[in-house]
């Protein structure tokens, strides 16, 4: 790895080593510019992941909990999400959210890029599916995506390797979908099902949600980062950025950060790229307010932090007489896009996807069973547990969340992280459209489970601890009054500042965002390379 003497100026400073930071770093490596990434967390050691221990399930609720507030580790910053029915989930460290993600890897659909034109709501993206298509494909190769070719819910796309197993769960739910005449398909998953680029194939540990000890899951610490580091990019961990500095010309000059010993440092750079996710990025931009930029950096539109989209989830689960896959195998196996597009006969616009999921481990089975009233205290406990455990399956709906300026990230006036940097505060309400969509998805989910022969069907909406898709808080667009970055990711206000994470989403679609986040990051990197000679014009 190229290593600059501490804080010598660099050409490109990337902040955040998650899904997008890794992709943009790798793509820019070929320019031979001096590139440095600052990341507040460290590297995850695969030998310390929960699935290596007998207490694997319990650890997913402790040091590997998805809520940064619950974990409260040195790498984490607190998020005040009291004012939101959906709580924030993330991972702070090399790989970012991809350490915890389920690796369910759908792309946005062509229609997602033009919802204003098609449905008269929200805004169109300034780019389209066709523009991103080569970057989706490149990203699939880099992350190692398994899939089954021919999904009629998408324009044609290649399959690199066979999909993750359907399992008995996929078959039972698939048969029900066939009976109903509804679309379903094995999920595209960033999980390798064969040896791939030095990664071992999935062995069905079922622990994708707390880190894959096998290295089969495409988290960026095992995909982009090793290659980027081989290409002499420096990744400096345990460095938390507090604010971006600017000069009289209104250009970014670098970033202040706190190193592992809590000392404040300054790193100067010619180009600054933000990749801290839909909460971390607006937090830094708002914390970078100065005399020149009193409302926060890159915020002449007033939209930094606004239009937060989280994808409200509904969960519907049922129990079957026959044993299913249980806790074995990647938790998500198939998807449905049957209710994805706007249907004028429904009482909401836009739509949702279903992710079908396998069973739960014994601890989760017990906790959920007691919460749902299916698992009594006392003598009946053991018999009831055995009716639930290894006998459950279900789905979540991922509902398109339309952008609303009142759903936003601000700075908490009191709460600070361990370095004294003001924390993010979330203000989020479910819209009426989202509520109707959630209700619709619960009703359809129950239809599916009943058709599959399930009993003891339960539902939850919105799923409270499901704020894992963080989008929209620094949206892209051509109009500087209606967007924070332009159509290739550069700030309208600060001409050497770029944003590549989920913040730039204009609309959320009704699918998980990471393949699109990374495709956008690769696209922005490509634009930087193509425009390198007049990048700041």
């Amino acid at each position: 790895m190229w290593k600059n003497a501490m804080n010598e100026p660099v050409d490109v400073l990337i902040i955040g080593a998650g899904a997008s930071g890794a992709a943009v770093a790798w793509s820019l490596a070929e320019t031979r510019m001096r590139i440095l990434c600052l990341e507040q967390g460290g590297w995850v050691k695969s030998s310390e992941l929960p699935s290596t221990g007998r207490d694997w399930e319990a650890r997913t609720m402790e040091d590997f909990a998805i809520s940064p507030n619950r974990r409260g580790l040195a790498a984490d910053y607190p998020v005040n999400d009291d004012d939101s029915p959906i709580k924030i989930a993330n991972f702070n460290g090399v790989g970012g959210g991809t350490i915890f993600y389920a690796a369910h890897f759908p792309r946005l659909h062509p229609s997602d890029f033009c919802v204003r034109s098609l449905d008269g709501v929200a805004d169109d993206w300034p780019i389209d599916y066709q523009t991103l298509e080569p970057f989706y494909a490149l990203n699939d190769r880099m992350m190692g995506v398994s899939s089954l070719a021919g999904d009629p819910a998408y324009p044609p796309k290649d399959s690199l390797m066979r999909p993750i197993p359907l399992g008995r769960t996929g078959e039972v739910l698939g048969a029900a979908m066939n009976g109903l005449g509804w679309h379903w398909w094995p999920s595209d998953a960033a999980i390798v099902t064969q040896e791939y680029e030095g990664r071992a194939p999935c062995i069905n540990l079922g622990q994708c949600g707390s880190g894959c000890a096998q290295g089969a899951k495409g988290s960026t610490d095992v995909t982009y980062w090793p290659e980027a580091i081989r290409s002499r990019i420096e990744l400096r961990t345990r460095c938390r950025v507090s604010r971006i500095e600017t000069n009289e010309e209104g250009m970014a000059t670098g970033a202040f950060y706190f190193d592992a010993d809590g000392r404040e440092q300054f790193q100067s750079a010619e180009i600054v790229i933000m990749a801290c996710n839909g909460i971390g990025t607006p937090r830094i931009l708002l914390n970078s307010a100065s005399e020149r930029f009193p409302d926060g950096l890159a915020n002449s539109s007033g939209l930094v932090g606004k239009n937060l989209m989280l994808h409200p989830y509904a969960q519907v689960r049922g129990h079957f007489d026959e044993p299913l896959d249980g806790y074995r195998g990647s938790p998500i196996c198939t998807w449905s896009m049957e209710f994805y597009e706007t249907d004028p006969s429904r009482d909401f616009v836009r739509g949702y996807s279903f992710q079908f999921s396998r069973g739960l481990g014994p601890v989760r089975t017990a906790i959920n069973g007691m919460a749902d009233g299916l698992l009594p205290w006392g003598d009946g406990h053991h018999a009831a547990f055995r009716r639930l455990f290894n006998h459950s399956a279900g789905m979540v709906s991922v509902c398109e969340d339309l952008p609303e300026e009142t759903n936003r990230v601000t700075l908490d006036p009191d709460l600070k992280d361990a370095d004294g940097i003001p924390a993010a505060k979330i203000h989020y309400r479910l819209s009426e459209n989202s509520r109707r969509m959630l209700d619709h998805s619960i009703a359809r989910g129950k239809d599916i489970l009943k058709a599959a022969g399930a009993r003891d069907i339960t539902s939850r909406a919105p799923l409270p601890y499901a704020g894992w898709h963080l989008m929209g808080t620094a949206r892209m667009g051509k109009d500087p009054e209606r967007s924070v970055v332009n159509e290739w990711g550069r700030s309208h206000d600060v001409k050497n500042l770029f944003i590549v994470d989920g913040s730039v989403f204009v609309t959320s679609g009704g699918v998980n965002p990471t393949s699109t986040i990374q495709a956008v990051a690769l696209y922005v990197a490509d634009q930087i390379k193509k425009r390198i000679h007049n990048l700041f014009d």
């Binding site: 319990a58 507030n69 619950r70 359907l166 094995p186 195998g329 896009m337």
Partner: protein, 160 residues
Amino acid sequence: MMTDRHGDTGDLSANAQQTLRCIARQMIPASAEYGVPGADDPIIFTDILQSIDRDRALLQEALDIVDAMAGGSLVELPEAGQVKRLMEFRTARPDLAAAIEAAVARCYYRDDRVMASIGMEARPPFPIGYKVKEGDWSMLDPVRARGKIYRDTGLMEESS
């Protein structure tokens, strides 16, 4: 909003420990039929006490409330009284009851004896992993037969 990771030092009070043990037994009693210990089993209960780091303050609060609802001490009530008070507590404070349930379940369902009884090998998932049936992809034939379902936007790439 947040658990202070470093704020909860110290143990549950002795009373709270007694109450928690009583609740653990009421929640998951031993069963000869299934050959399993109760959640108040000494090994499991020690594990519970050692594993409540992040929830200690919340549990202390919950257990104090249970004792208050029981007129001072849950353990001093007769069996039927304990069951009744705990029902009332779960109805009044489902949030706190859920915290107790999670603390108990996290340790109970990793005990070797319990794992054996529910048909699980007493080992971590890694490195052996598990077998999952590949499944029959010909089940997708009707989905393919239905043809394209994504929406046209009028753009070139969709004319396939």
